[in-house]
């Protein structure tokens, strides 16, 4: 509902953002696709040549590929499960009447604002270090053998760090969603004799569905690109135990300077992300239309 003139103005004002974003998306993506078909190493300039799908076959047969794919999915799913389950639990807890709720909320949210490199370093050195870390000190105090977390369970340790960073986000969003829960509906159910568990399963959880969808979507976007946490803690190791697709591509292009191979990996990552995105957009489309 508007006039021709304002529609034209609208289009003019929309176009810079659209054009810039489009270029930002299409130019590098096109270059990546192009590079992925070249033999192209930054250490050997001038030797670029077209090789067809060679890079892709190298990438898929790279012994690190399958572990990286599995690690990526494990990391993303692990963090999602921990944060959604933990987030719902915390949201329900924080929703109860208590003293000092404001401060509790501030404390719970805090890890979200910690930059990834800081949280990774703090966890790696001050908490999880097998000699000087606090966990080691605790273990010794209890008479246990300190665990070398990053050597024995590198991916699980990284998952724990990333989950710690994102738990506040899930909690905050689910807690906000809890506020709009229909209290009268709850009381009506209570009058009808429904117990707390029935109310949680049949009223609270469905009410939180939309917020949970949003949490899953947003977190997946960010989790597929987890990088600094790995770089700072394990560098992908030991071996390929904590190498994700993102990290594998980084190693190939930035450390081995193999642009062709890295690009092929990048395209694989894009395709993988798109598969996830299609599922998510569908889910979101359904859940957000209302």
């Amino acid at each position: 509902m508007a006039t021709q003139a304002s529609r034209i103005a609208g289009r003019l004002m929309l176009s810079p953002a659209v054009v810039l974003l489009f270029l930002w998306m299409i130019v590098p993506l096109g270059m990546t696709i192009y590079f992925s078909f070249l033999r192209f190493n930054l250490l050997m300039p001038g030797t670029e040549e077209f090789t067809g799908f060679e890079n892709y076959s190298y990438f898929f047969t790279d012994p690190a590929f399958w572990p990286a794919l599995v690690n990526t999915l494990t990391l993303v799913l692990g963090v999602l499960v921990i944060t959604v389950v933990g987030g719902v639990a915390l949201a329900v807890l924080l929703d109860q009447p208590m003293w000092g709720q404001g401060i509790v909320r501030i404390l719970v949210i805090a890890p979200f604002f910690v930059m990834p490199s800081v949280s990774a370093l703090v966890w790696k050195n001050m908490l999880m270090n097998p000699v000087n870390g606090l966990f080691a000190a605790l273990a010794r105090a209890l008479g246990l053998q300190p665990i070398d977390f990053f050597a024995s369970a590198p991916l699980a340790s990284i998952t724990a760090i990333v989950a710690w960073q994102w738990l506040p986000f899930a909690t905050l969003i689910l807690f906000t969603a809890m506020q709009s829960l229909d209290r009268e509906q709850m009381e009506a159910a209570e009058m009808d004799g429904a117990g707390p568990i029935w109310r949680f399963v049949h009223l609270t959880l469905p009410h939180l569905m939309r917020a949970m969808t949003v949490v899953v979507l947003i977190q997946t976007i960010f989790l597929l690109s987890v990088f600094a946490e790995i770089l700072v803690t394990t560098n992908g190791g030991p071996g390929t135990a904590s190498t994700t697709l993102t990290f594998l591509v980084y190693m190939q292009s930035m450390l081995q300077f193999d642009v062709g191979l890295g690009s092929a990996g990048g395209i694989v990552a894009v395709i993988l992300a798109n598969i996830v995105a299609i599922f998510l957009m569908r889910m979101i489309g359904k859940n957000l239309e209302a």
Partner: protein, 276 residues
Amino acid sequence: MAREASKGHKAAVTVLAWGVALLIFFPILWTFLTSFKTEGEAINSHPSFLFFDWTLENYETVNQRSDYLAHFWNSVVISVGSTVLGLIIAVPAAWSMAFVPGKRTKDILMWMLSTKMLPAVGVLVPIYLLARDAGLLDTKTGLVIVLTMVNLPIIVWMLYTYFKEIPGEILEAARMDGATLSSEILYVLTPMAVPGIASTLLLNVILAWNESFWTLNLTAASAAPLTAFIASYSSPEGLFYAKLSAASTMAIAPIMILGWFSQKQLVRGLTFGAVK
């Protein structure tokens, strides 16, 4: 109608919630405390919680030796710069989508969101090469440009959800009152949208401040913001817990304070207005 919960229940909830909250907050608290310890105390195998000799020497050392202020300044320039640039591009776009929606507005918004789903690693090589060839590697300008584009979809979405709440009749009233398009935006829309623009700004400064893929891959030394500066502590020679703690505390403190102020807007912004 909330009932008065029993005192006992409330006390139990309070204890449990505080316990969980302190547990979650503990790594940050521990970092903060360690930053005031001596290096020896920091790696003491019987760590002490509060009863140690408090010292500020770590903060002094970090500032003197590693040029902390320069990196801090880089972080400020990059996060604020990219956010402001993003706002300049996004305000007109969000205006257009909120007040002159067309048939494809929904599609454009969804498409913008989908560009966020493109994994950064998929375009790492070309961006790196383009930045290198343009002489923008390890420069603040280069990072401002990259982070502007990375966060532009979020900025547009956030502004869009805020603008949507401004009644169109007010803009029409301005038009009836003889305002041109530019005065309509300048005198009527912008002042009304200030709270929304402010929280968009805040959230994006936070996101850009903590962004750790591009800042790590596109900088070496001179333009490195705090994310990259802190990451350099992971190399063995940097393993001084107390100094690491001091540097970390300084890196996260400003954004944590901003973040606590923007809790409410954070939810709206990060969920694209889907959860309020």
